[in-house]
Symmetry: C2
Subunit: 138 residues, 2 copies
DNA sequence: TTCGATACGCACCAAAAGGAGAGTGTCGGC
DNA sequence: GCCGACACTCTCCTTTTGGTGCGTATCGAA
């Protein structure tokens, strides 16, 4: 009945009762990972890495399929985390551009492995999905 | 007034009107990335990489802070994508365990760079956030 | 005999993600 | 003189995400 509640309680307790000093660091790392391992962040990062400095609209066009709202939000978060620098040129009409910082470039390089993996193995993933569906339905 | 609508329409049109042959592949890669660049997927991947074969409950305890529902969902998706193998031992009480496939291990290795980045630079990210907040509020 | 353990599925609900559309202010081109 | 471009912001609205709690089957232990 409440077996699961206790099981999950234990699950949580175990991870909270053992704070091996570096618990704060691990939490931070997780937070950073969760933030950064975002679809749009990855895509924007890629766009900026490939094209260098980009304006808001350019960036949206290159990424493709992103709404203004999400583009604004993603770029703001990246700026906040020190991944991009936002430069406002006070002219009319407004001109704002975004450039990767060193931190951003490093992250982009780190993500490179994942991109390569996806490009290398997407066929295998598709095959696995087909096989899974057939096993389920067939 | 409807300037933006047109701008965004153009934004989308551009990316949809130019299908440079590898458009399908890019779409697939993006889909795979979006799937795989998930917080829980990364965490489970890490747990399995570090501990080898794990049971459902063990996995939850190691990842920490994940609900059953999300753990089930994450593991199912990973199985579907060919990242883990799910083995059911038909005993009572039930015993199910999960192991990374070669594909999963490759992905884990690819993510290694991101983990390293996060561990290396989390302090910089924190600093950037503080600076951003001070610039905004102060 | 009743409880605890296992690995879930299901129903319900709250919160967050994300899209659509309108509005803003100014300028240069038609 | 009016419209389009820029880089947004703001307000709805829908979809997705994720948590909680309950139920299940069966066995061995208390």
């Amino acid at each position: 009945m409440h077996a699961i509640r206790e099981a999950m309680a234990t699950m949580h307790k175990r991870s909270e009762e053992i704070p091996p000093v570096s618990k704060a660091v691990e939490s931070l790392v997780r937070q950073v990972i969760a933030q950064v391992a975002d679809k749009w962040t990855m895509l924007v990062l890629e766009a900026l890495e490939e094209h260098g400095t980009l304006r808001f609209g350019e960036c949206g066009r290159i990424v493709g399929g992103i709404s203004q709202k999400m583009l604004t939000k993603t770029l703001r978060e990246m700026e906040r985390d020190g991944l991009v620098v936002r430069t406002v040129h006070p002219v009319i009409p407004p001109h704002v551009d975004y450039t990767l910082t060193e931190l951003g470039r490093e992250l982009s390089a780190a993500f490179c492995g994942v991109w390569t993996w996806a490009e290398t193995y997407h066929a295998e993933v598709s095959a696995a999905r087909r096989a899974f569906r057939e096993r389920e339905e067939g």
